[in-house]
Symmetry: C2
Subunit: 204 residues, 2 copies
Amino acid sequence: MNNTIERICKIYGYLAVQEQSGADFISSKELAEAIGTTEYTVRKDFSVLDIKGYTRKGYEVKSLKEKLGVKFRLNKERRACIVGLGRLGTALLDYEHFQNDGFEIIAGFDSSINKIERIQTKIDVFPVGALAEVVSSRGIELGIITVPAKAAQEIADVLIRAGVKGILNFSPVKLNVPKDIVRLDMDFTNALRFIAAKFVIQNK
Amino acid sequence: MNNTIERICKIYGYLAVQEQSGADFISSKELAEAIGTTEYTVRKDFSVLDIKGYTRKGYEVKSLKEKLGVKFRLNKERRACIVGLGRLGTALLDYEHFQNDGFEIIAGFDSSINKIERIQTKIDVFPVGALAEVVSSRGIELGIITVPAKAAQEIADVLIRAGVKGILNFSPVKLNVPKDIVRLDMDFTNALRFIAAKFVIQNK
DNA sequence: ATTTTTTAGTGATTTTTTTCACTTATTATA
DNA sequence: TATAATAAGTGAAAAAAATCACTAAAAAAT
């Protein structure tokens, strides 16, 4: 199920690009190539989701994107915040792609008042003490954690209590979250490890 | 197979921490909890890899880490470079965890000479024209791409021709690489999409 | 010394995921 | 108008992954 969701998210992103460039129809084969899977898998995913295409034409870009948007609520604009305004956190604050893709970073938090005062960004920044209040009052649904490892779990707890639905975790620790909350880890070291290990195994 | 590699990488990271804190033995159950899987899966992975533990004690931390290190070559120090010294790229340049975990960022590249001159870091930075030469002469095995989408494929091509084994891609495009090269995408927008979509599906 | 408890090891089973093989529909071409 | 080609749709098969159910070993407790 996770695999399907992941593929659908990639497809959705690709469709957004295709829509911009004016494409009307797209085949399962092209979609498969774009996201790195097979045409069979794409068609099977759509089949399960009860999404229909047109023989010899493929899927209509606009309506496909619309349908996926509805089914997975990817059409809804969602608010996010970043906790931890170190170098990575501040880089993400101004990451321009989020805005174009249905996500809006509307707040940043840091434990250092000093840092907050020095930061140059259009986005509102707050001391971490304001986290719970700002998250719930502004309807923030997603929390991005870029604090040091030792503070990460505590921040996650506060975010969840304040009502976020999911956490994107850049700290290299495994966060405990209730099972209705979605957590996704982006551990750069693990990513490099994976690449190195996979290279070793597959070219052995 | 990818799943196993991913789990092993996480386990390896966890073992490094445990080793530091002086733990001698660790059970499949604790490992499973630490990386978010089941004890069965951990034991099955080890069983396939012909890694043995001790009844009623678990696995010896030191020798387990050693064995995984050898089997997946995670014990070898590997050199990496970052191409694209925007905010994300420069944040990664100084990402302190890499050093402690067997990866060394030894060069950064950017197309803007201006940017290169202004950057404050201990790591050597070069104009992107020097990429091929520096990568091959310094034995860089991993390339981290943080350039804008439109430049990403070209950079990937140069990196691969210069001999990198794997690419960690932060740009939001699907890179074409030969199949013996490992590519891992870190697309932040997709990550947020996945979190949002999964929340919708699982709490439906 | 015996029993209980804990934890690994692994073949078998189950579940999930992917791929295949074939049908059907529609457009393009001869 | 007939034929060829293309691409979706989907049940069935295969492959992959995870889980279970059990055994065995060793330590701890009685």
